[in-house]
Point group: C2
């Protein structure tokens, strides 16, 4: 892919889409993690649907350990989350109209026992959130590149919650907004995944005969 | 819900479905965690689609830390996983034609650094797996109720992988197959989730104005 080519948002989206497999939910193949957001704001009605999808995820003992603190550009929460991002993420995430951080209750509310599935379940709900966003024409980008302790302090996330990922959400824009050639190249490179034989086993390390 | 009423599989499914919200992916609201499996086997072609969905989940640095060891009824892996389940789960999971266990690589392959998103990402991919299963007319039930060390030993899961959940997968049957009145009642009780105000904040503990 020549980086000098200026791809439109929809050309980029078409390139990032995973190969279609008949019978697999289209949103699964259409979701990808863009960094090029355009200027459009996200309506409350759309944002509500995204969280509606998230809350119906499964969780251990139906604990629903997931919480999200959501900032919208122009408000203090957005600013606080943005400030905790590492430098590279700051170079693009400032265009995202929504920045949120996920957190997971580490103990079961009913008895205080440790919930070893807290982050697992937060990951599950957050992935429904990102999938629903894709289905609504939004894009999301989850990040680990931020200062966890800083975000915990800035937002007052209690010690009994683990901090998950920061998620940028908005509408995908043209890669050109990223400015930097290396970033544009990254944004317009086809996605890759391990083949099933490397991740689905019949016995450990032996590809399942699917 | 009178427990003496014998509900069919489709009546049960209709009751367990979450309230439809326009614009939210139907599979999100249709997915639920049944324990009443019928006798049907799951074809390899269907099982492949389920994992195809899972592998396109997002992960930190695209590490794809997820692995699944998949047993099909009649094979040694199924038997080994089943044997590690706690007693309650044994009472129903013996009807599931597929039992698998998820595992997550705890370090990044490129540099050996700890991946604090390993379980988070396994949860994400597993939730795409369960959603795709729902879209294909299957049902899944994730379990934490099993002996982790026993399953690690029985399947030879290396120490550098964290064990996630056991997932039962198959076609939903009539609740009556569960036999026990309490279990049937549980199987036919409407699902509940926290309202958005308890999980989506603008500042910690303050419901977001969505």
């Amino acid at each position: 892919m020549a980086t000098s080519t200026v791809l439109t948002a929809s050309e980029t989206h078409a390139m990032k889409r995973a190969p279609v497999v008949e019978g697999v939910l289209p949103a699964i193949h259409e979701r990808w993690s863009a960094r090029s957001f355009d200027g459009r704001e996200v309506s409350s009605s759309v944002l509500t649907k995204v969280f509606e999808a998230a809350r119906w995820a499964a969780s251990s003992n139906n604990e629903q350990p997931w919480r999200w603190v959501v900032g919208r550009r122009g408000d203090g929460t957005w600013e606080k989350i943005y400030e905790t991002l590492v430098g590279f993420n700051k170079t693009w995430a400032h265009r995202a109209p929504v920045l949120m951080v996920g957190a997971a209750a580490m103990r079961f509310s009913k008895n205080g026992a440790e919930n070893r599935f807290a982050l697992y379940d937060l990951g599950a709900a957050s992935s429904y959130l990102t999938l629903e966003a894709a289905a609504l024409g939004l894009t999301t980008h989850q990040m680990g590149g931020f200062n966890q302790e800083a975000v915990r302090q800035a937002l007052g996330i209690p010690a009994e919650y683990a901090v998950g990922a920061v998620i940028a959400l908005g509408y995908q824009g043209e890669p050109a907004v990223l400015g930097d050639v290396t970033m544009i190249e990254r944004e317009t490179t086809a996605r890759t995944r391990k083949p099933l034989g490397e991740i689905v086993f019949s016995e450990w390390g032996m590809p399942a005969d699917l």
